[in-house]
């Protein structure tokens, strides 16, 4: 029997059993749609999160006191970690040339008040470079002044939402005086809202000069040193150099450098695992579809016993009968795969037109996997019925 004739015969048999074929197609295509669409959603979520991180600015390094690997594991052994000081930040700026900006950050939670209106928020002591490094923008007024890091000044830049809460009804904040704790400071600028970035609500915070903050909080150590590395430089080498400089000053590694890449990278890994989990769940529906195919094919074999008997009488061998039924299973599952894929692609396009920011385009590997798996499932679950058909006793089959 020629291959083309086998496929033609199988196709003809399928087309003459519309209902059965249709139900099989439905099952397989739902399974494939689920796999492709869910992996598309998972990948979309991964890209979305990645893009959110990108919006923070690339190549940021956070340095914070305490070593992530030893801290907590062996308390007391190395003693309390040394503070990260303004001098450390200064040394980095001076000795590591590849750094674009070094931004010291001191953090405290303070009550900011305009007469009787007050709000407890994070007040960051930092430098004017903070705003740019974090991708923030001013909506009115000016940035923090360029000062010597050791000098304070009674000024504040307010987050957009904080400004609206303290100065409601269109009252202009810039130029007014607010209280931060028990100090009176002048509002010199207001930031645009940029939503929450890594746990910090940028709308509800205030920025003051770093020296003012350290004296206000009575702290000699910094909360973070935020470093922005030039876009063209090798992050790993630069971080290693920064580590060297700080080790020399502290005598031990009592600090941690965390690159934004690694944060984004681990999140990306998590999201990919989630995607795979979604694909796994969706595969269950493919397997269910496969079992459906098997059932339908088994019914088909028993209904066509007399046909099988006839084919055998006309000279078809075991292998040919088996090949015909396998071809039917393969055709159904491949067609179901293509239909399911088309549905998934249309659905992801529709989704994109409603939520342009969320790109749920299925990844190429899920498309290949779905088609491969659906065809595999069809063949796998087609083997049993095909074997059954080929093993029918022709005499008995002809009598039915």
């Amino acid at each position: 029997m020629r291959s083309a004739d086998k496929w033609r015969f199988a196709l003809n048999a399928l087309l003459h059993n519309r209902l059965r074929t249709g139900l099989c197609l439905l099952g397989i295509s739902i399974g494939v749609t689920a796999v492709v669409l869910l992996t598309g959603l998972g990948e979309g979520a991964r890209r979305y999160v990645g893009a959110q991180f990108q919006s923070l600015g690339t190549n940021l390094v956070f340095i914070f006191p305490g070593h992530a690997d030893t801290e907590g594991a062996m308390p007391g052994l190395g003693g309390a970690p040394n503070d990260l000081s303004l001098q450390d930040a200064r040394a980095l700026q001076r000795e590591v040339r590849q750094l674009k900006t070094v931004v010291p950050i001191s953090l405290g939670s303070e009550t900011v008040a305009n007469r009787e209106r007050s709000k407890q928020v994070y007040v960051l002591g930092t430098t004017p470079q903070f705003i740019e490094a974090r991708g923030l923008r001013l909506s009115s007024g000016v940035n923090l002044p360029e000062l010597d890091w050791e000098r304070g000044q009674p000024v504040i830049v307010l987050g957009g939402e904080l400004a609206r809460e303290l100065f409601p009804g269109g009252e202009v904040a810039v130029g007014n005086t607010v209280r931060v704790g028990d100090r009176r400071v002048r509002v010199i600028g207001v930031m645009e809202d940029r939503g929450t970035q890594v746990g910090l609500d940028t709308g509800l915070m205030g920025l003051i000069p770093v020296a003012s903050a350290m004296s206000m909080y009575n702290e000699s150590g910094l909360f973070r040193i935020l470093v922005e590395i030039g876009a063209q430089t090798d992050t790993d080498r630069t971080v290693a150099r920064m580590r060297e400089v700080l080790m020399e000053r502290h005598g031990e590694e009592d600090f941690t450098c965390k690159t934004q890449e690694s944060v984004a990278g681990s999140l990306s890994t998590i999201m990919r695992v989630l995607t795979l989990a979604l694909a796994g769940i969706a595969s269950v529906s493919l397997a269910v579809a496969g079992i459906g195919i098997m059932n339908v094919m088994l019914v088909s074999v028993s209904e066509r016993r007399s046909e099988v008997g006839l084919l055998r009488a006309l000279g078809a061998g075991h292998a040919q009968v088996r090949g015909i039924f396998l071809a039917e299973a393969a055709l159904i599952s491949a067609a179901g795969g293509v239909i399911g894929l088309a549905i998934a692609i249309v659905a992801s396009l529709v989704l994109r037109s409603f939520y342009p920011a969320f790109d749920a385009t299925p990844p190429w590997w899920s498309v290949l996997a779905a088609l491969g798996v659906s065809t595999g499932v069809g063949l796998l679950f087609g083997v049993m019925p095909a074997n059954k058909a080929s093993r029918l006793d022709p005499v008995v089959a002809l009598r039915s």
């Binding site: 029997m1 004739d5 003459h16 008997g309 009488a313 006309l314 000279g315 078809a316």
Partner: protein
């Protein structure tokens, strides 16, 4: 004359629980090339079983079988399929056409399994349908044809590969006498052209056309007649009397 079929000590046993049922018991039978043999006998006497063994659809439990001088007793399943394909033609009482295929496609089927190219297949099938008088029914489905027409399609299909022997199991059993006679005319014509015919029948009128009539009883050869000697069913009923 060459011997087409040579059966020696053929036995076909079915196990029914712990009882053994001999559908065929120690049967010897020779059929010469070009012979027309009718098989008769009461229901359950083993006629269909014999035909299936001759057609290699069924295997004897013991005994030896030579077809066209070749011992086919121990062939593998694939080899048997090939022999069926090329040397055996079947016609069944209930036609056994594939309902979704039209007349031409049904006649083409044996050639499909033999790997004959599509164009040649089509030509040969159309010519065969012309010969059985169905040139105007080529593209009718079995459900759009009468029983007699369907059986003529089946006859065209059974001879399309040029078999050594044509086996027909009650070919007119489902037909009225007019369509039955047309089918018998066809078979007679094939026989005149030299084809070996083995026909199972209950109908003395059909048996009378044969060169030889063999009568089975309980899986054994009970009697042999010359076809022209078969006069009536009564002769067969005599057989049933102990």
């Amino acid at each position: 004359m060459a011997r087409v079929i040579e059966l020696r000590g053929i036995r076909r046993t079915y196990k029914m629980g712990d009882q053994e049922l001999h559908a065929l018991a120690d049967l010897d039978l020779d059929i010469e090339s070009g012979e027309h043999v009718a098989i008769m006998g009461p229901s359950g006497s083993g006629k269909s079983t014999l035909l299936n063994v001759i057609g290699l659809l069924d295997r004897a439990s013991s005994g030896r079988y030579a077809l066209d001088g070749r011992d086919v007793t121990d062939l593998s399943d694939e080899e048997l399929s090939e022999v069926r394909q090329n040397q055996i033609g079947f016609v069944f009482q209930s036609y056994h056409l594939v309902a979704r295929l039209d007349a031409v496609a049904n006649v083409e089927l044996p050639m499909v399994f033999a790997g004959v190219p599509k164009k040649e297949r089509r030509q040969r099938a159309e010519a065969a349908l012309q010969r059985v008088g169905l040139g105007d029914r080529m593209h009718h489905k079995p459900t759009e044809m009468s029983g007699g027409q369907a059986q003529r399609v089946a006859v065209a299909r059974s001879t399309i590969m040029g078999p050594s022997v044509l086996l027909a199991d009650e070919p007119t059993g489902n037909l009225d006498s007019v369509s039955g006679n047309r089918v018998l005319d066809l078979l007679q014509g094939l026989h005149r052209d030299g084809l070996t015919l083995v026909v199972v029948t209950h109908d003395p009128a059909v048996a009378r056309l044969a060169d030889r009539v063999i009568v089975l009883k309980d899986g054994r050869l009970a009697r042999e007649w010359r076809g022209t000697d078969v006069v009536s069913l009564d002769q067969l009923f005599e057989l049933d009397a102990p």
